[in-house]
Subunit: 320 residues, 2 copies
Amino acid sequence: MHIAITGAAGFLGQRLVNQLLARGQLDGEAITRLTLIDQVEAPKPDVKGVEVECLALDITSPGALDPVLDERPAVIYHLAAVVSSAAEADLDLGMAVNFDATRELLEGCRQRELSGTRLVMASSVAAYGGDMPVVLDDMTALHPQNSYGTQKAMCELLINDYSRRGLVDGRVLRLPTIVIRPGRPNAAASSFASSILREPLAGEQAICPVPVEQELFVMSPAKVIDALVHAAEVLGESIGAFRALMLPGITVSVSEMLEALREAAGDEAVARVRHEADPRIQAIVSGWPARFDTEKSRELGFTGDRDFKEIIDAYISESR
Amino acid sequence: MHIAITGAAGFLGQRLVNQLLARGQLDGEAITRLTLIDQVEAPKPDVKGVEVECLALDITSPGALDPVLDERPAVIYHLAAVVSSAAEADLDLGMAVNFDATRELLEGCRQRELSGTRLVMASSVAAYGGDMPVVLDDMTALHPQNSYGTQKAMCELLINDYSRRGLVDGRVLRLPTIVIRPGRPNAAASSFASSILREPLAGEQAICPVPVEQELFVMSPAKVIDALVHAAEVLGESIGAFRALMLPGITVSVSEMLEALREAAGDEAVARVRHEADPRIQAIVSGWPARFDTEKSRELGFTGDRDFKEIIDAYISESR
């Protein structure tokens, strides 16, 4: 089986590559070929029996993915995206990467009659917004309040239509906030959600810019990767009349996150978190939905984290 | 005030032109200029004090609307579209007319900093679909099961984002099924909804392809035009966090429609309707949502028809 991955050098892309290689198969078929696509060349894993090609290319350049599609991959993971802060800062860039490149990918599949190719795209909780009910579900309208969410919602519609027309076999997962991300704090409004755990666990200070009552809808990196793998294995038609769904994250408040930190690493870890309100971040984060009924994705076999303790314990054991 | 209208030669476009000219003003400002745009040149109304320009152009041709936008219209009605059957038959055509041309219009406004220009677009009940609740509202997800609805839903998202960013002042109305349309039966699945009334009233036979229990969500042409006028007059911000809403149609079954026909034109009119099941049309129409909670649009001052008798009476008096 030939699998192509855009955004393969990124955080999720790299973990997905490792997971696929560790499994060796997808949907019962041996993985024989991986095409890893990103702006910069992804690190090339050396695995016996798997032909790996790492391509550095700009997916917004017309026809950039043609050589990949010509090879008729059985599965395409489309993870490449401009993040929300960048899409908000530059509308043209966001439209080009997040929307137009996805459309070109769909068109490329259509032109080559890759109707059986399973296209898995990552969408986001950021596609929700506006006057939402307390508990959201897959029938809650997407009224995004940011350009990133708008572009993702448009891609969902297009992938659904191309799938309905039998031009490709699309599946879109709306990802919860991913916690705990590795690395350093960044400009994302969600950065603190990883930072207030990751930094104290490393003996460093962190700032919490939101009230401890703030709730988030979160999922661990490991469960997101499991979901991406599973998304390529479920039957497209089983997803129902719309090819996008929300993954089963868990709802957790900042105080519950800090309590889990205390259990895992003691009072001194929690003491490293300084509470310093940031009205700009609060305004963004308070608009994020935190409670979802994800019955649909659970029925399809997607699984989430059991509780926040599991998330933090997994991070600690991975980081060792 | 300068108003530009795309799709101006169409059924709604022509009625809108007449209504605007009859009013003479919009939002308290005298209408001094109309630019009527369509594939074919719209009939030129001769009204004193209003400069009317009729342009025959292809809005899918790059830059086609530039000269219009250079004149900085205060209001743009964007009614031009490829209908659902045509968009389903030709994906490229539907994407070009229904989506790309709208995007180019938005970009044209952005480039000229027409942030105050009120852009009114017609969307459709066809944007809903899939596993819907019994009663829908503005928070029901759009899961379109046809390419026309997909393209309209994508435009809604884009217009909302451009409005949120202050690049244009957009408003999108989701139109119910319009009954009674004038003219002849056509290939649209909804054609029967007008046909089973219009033809008998004209002493002709008509075919009803769906069970009489079938419900539809309908609005008269006159009320749709009132809504288009009102849409340009409401304050953009008052629409809320998402710039699209469903108009307050009324729910009516085919048997209720035929009963209203009987009241208006007697048993002999109803006898001209032959019931001949058409599984293809039934399959399409049965997937249309028929019940909506339209509190939001009513609160904003949009009004619907009182009952179906009012719709049929208005048609009869207009046709005289």
